[in-house]
């Protein structure tokens, strides 16, 4: 049998692999990776994993507290809400709306925004600082307000909210990519590649992209946390997901009336939202510090 590794070679991990190793070495960021992985699985397979349907009512079990209290029932681990719906099932169904859809929206926005930004940076090369400052000022309008503008035009609803969020984040990614490329293009290594006679496609994918990935990844985590918060806020205000949908923000809005009698109906979706957001933020923070360490500031 031939040994594939015939020659001894020193394998130097690439900077991105080093970043990954740094992330895995830190127990807290590893924990957030597991939490987010579990959330991702729940948002894809949630309806299969959940014990009951999201709107399945149990007339004999209305407003049951979680199972560990005296009045609890083991059938409903985290209790039921005022309409006798199982909280565990609703939370699991809701992960799709509150975590899955914003993630999808941000990924789509990143793909569209980054490609548009790259095209505009590589092809046009506008160096106008006026346009840059103008965009800076316009982008200072918070994303929720912009989403409200779009929803005001196309009307409330979950699909409209997702569309609005995706549209809102496109200019941000465009701006970030364009600025990052504009900064990198001044570097000598880009000039060297140009002198080597590479075409624009190679210049972008093999020369520029590895060097701007840091800015994009950093903004990706910020945008994801903002998108989750926005979709939940819209659901809470009644402008996103509508009443029976188990979106966590909408669940919080419905829990307002029963918060005193059955506080767990209010506490659980908020806690789920909090854990999700803190995981995304901690992961973003660890990625940022790892990238800073490995790729330079």
């Amino acid at each position: 049998m031939l040994d594939k590794n015939l020659y001894y070679e020193v394998k130097n991990p690439s900077p991105l692999q080093l970043v990954w190793q740094d992330l895995r070495a830190n127990p807290i960021s590893t924990a957030t990776l597991y939490i987010l992985g579990a959330l991702l699985i729940i948002s894809i397979f949630g309806p299969l994993l959940a014990p009951y349907g999201s709107n399945e009512q149990f007339i004999d079990a209305v407003s049951l507290p979680p199972a560990w209290s005296d009045q609890g029932d083991m059938r409903f681990l985290l209790g039921t809400d005022a309409l006798g719906r199982d909280m565990v099932s609703r939370l699991m169904h809701g992960a799709r709306y509150t975590f899955g859809l914003p993630m999808l929206a941000v990924i789509i926005a990143a793909l569209v925004g980054c490609s548009l930004g790259a095209i505009s940076a590589v092809n046009v090369g506008v160096k106008s600082s006026t346009v840059k400052h103008l965009l800076d000022v316009l982008l200072s309008i918070p994303s929720l307000l912009l989403a409200l503008v779009i929803i005001a035009v196309i009307g409330p609803g979950l699909s409209n909210a997702i569309l609005a969020i995706a549209l809102v984040f496109i200019p941000q990614f465009l701006h970030i990519t364009k600025n990052a490329i504009a900064d990198e293009q001044k570097q000598p290594y880009v000039l060297a590649s140009r002198l080597n006679g590479v075409d624009n496609r190679y210049l972008f994918f093999s020369v520029l992209l590895p060097n701007i990935i840091k800015a994009i990844v950093m903004h990706l985590t910020i945008a994801l946390s903002a998108a989750i918060l926005d979709i939940a806020a819209l659901g809470f205000l009644g402008l996103g997901a509508q009443a029976p949908a188990p979106e966590w923000g909408a669940m919080l809005a419905q829990s307002l009336e029963v918060a005193y009698n059955s506080p767990w109906v209010m506490a659980l979706p908020g806690l789920a939202l909090f854990v999700t957001l803190i995981s995304v933020n901690i992961l973003g923070e660890s990625i940022r510090s790892a990238l800073d360490k490995r790729l330079g500031s």
Binding site: K127, S129, S140, P156, L239, M266
Partner: protein, 341 residues
């Protein structure tokens, strides 16, 4: 410096022009008749013809835009489609209420945020830093509507130390002059003014604290990061080597340098504040702009949406530009950056 001011003000003018253009075109994007969407006068209303002509809808679109601007400056902002109230009158009562809440929350955030960040950086990687860093990360991640619900449940329902919602107990019957409740009480000539003040204070304290949380933790994070960076610089070591006390090093050398990147983020903190004020007002039934705007989006009350969004966006843009000017005035380094093309 004057160059920076002129440049920033012209930037503000251009962005405000773009925003007004957006607001103007919204009456076309909304479903239904553009005249009704802009003014709130339905088609079968007797004044419809008059408004149609006044808004220039018998002429081309440029003329329409100019007429729109004219009515904007004249204070003729149309009327709400829900209750036929004049938008300008309603707004001039609601905007001060929102600003009151915003200013108080901003003041709380500014008083607490930066000092905590500097303390955390001073004791970098000590227990006190870890506690502050964790609280700021948690505060950054907690959704404001949940925080509001939990604090209402704890402080208003269970402990019963503050009222649940609203601006003041309606028994006080304070006439609405400016919209901002504290100013209104000061202006009014009701009996028991002092008790009314106390009541209004109890009403405002919970929403203001909830609202201050997000910008406050944001400022803690920015200040901490910036102060850690500054404290590692050589001039700090040099200052210690010259025999200055810790207090002198901190107040004369470290803190002024720390605040430069933090002032840059003040406008970020302000936009977070404005986002959250929309939600906070809804939960606390605060009779402000955000509450009104959210309800109007829900009810599809187009004239209100159009003008409410215009006002909010202009406030944010104006604050942003003035934060830039402040920063350029205070820090010559930043001014150089603004000069650079």
């Amino acid at each position: 410096m004057s160059r920076v001011i002129i440049r920033q003000l012209s930037l503000l003018l251009i962005t405000l022009f773009l925003i007004s253009l957006l607001s103007f075109s919204m009456s076309y994007w909304f479903p239904g008749d553009p005249v009704t969407n802009a003014s709130g006068i339905p088609i079968d209303h007797p004044r419809y013809e008059e408004v149609f002509e006044k808004r220039g809808f018998d002429s081309n679109i440029a003329h329409q835009y100019i007429s729109y601007l004219r009515s904007l400056f004249e204070g003729d902002w149309g009327q709400s489609m829900q209750d036929n109230s004049e938008i300008w009158d309603e707004l001039s009562l609601r905007l001060p209420a929102t600003l009151e809440l915003t200013v108080i929350a901003l003041a709380i955030a500014l008083c607490i945020g930066p000092p905590l960040g500097i303390i955390a950086a001073k004791y970098y990687r000590k227990p006190i830093d870890q506690v502050i860093a964790f609280i700021s990360l948690a505060g950054y991640s907690v959704p404001v509507f949940w925080l509001a619900q939990v604090t209402i449940l704890i402080f208003a329902v269970v402990l019963d130390v503050v009222p649940i919602a609203g601006q003041i107990n309606p028994l006080f019957d304070v006439p609405a002059v400016s919209g901002s409740i504290l100013i209104d009480i000061a202006l009014s000539d009701i009996d028991h003014k002092w008790i009314a003040f106390q009541n209004a204070f109890l009403h405002i304290v919970l929403p203001a604290i909830v609202l201050a949380t997000a910008p406050c933790v944001l400022l803690v994070r920015f200040t901490r990061a910036s102060a850690i960076h500054v404290l590692q610089q050589k001039f700090v070591k040099g200052a210690y080597a010259r025999g200055l006390s810790t207090a002198e090093v901190m107040f004369k050398h470290a803190i002024p340098n720390t605040m430069q990147p933090v002032t840059r983020q003040l406008s970020t903190a302000f936009s977070v504040l404005v986002t959250n004020v929309l939600i906070t007002e809804v939960i606390f039934s605060w009779p402000g702009l955000g509450n009104w705007l959210v309800r109007s989006i829900y009810e599809r009350d187009f004239p209100v949406i159009q003008h409410g969004l215009l006002v909010l966006a202009s406030i944010i843009l104006t604050v942003n530009v003035f934060a830039n000017i402040l920063q350029a005035w205070r820090y010559p380094q930043v001014r150089q950056e603004f000069y650079a093309r």
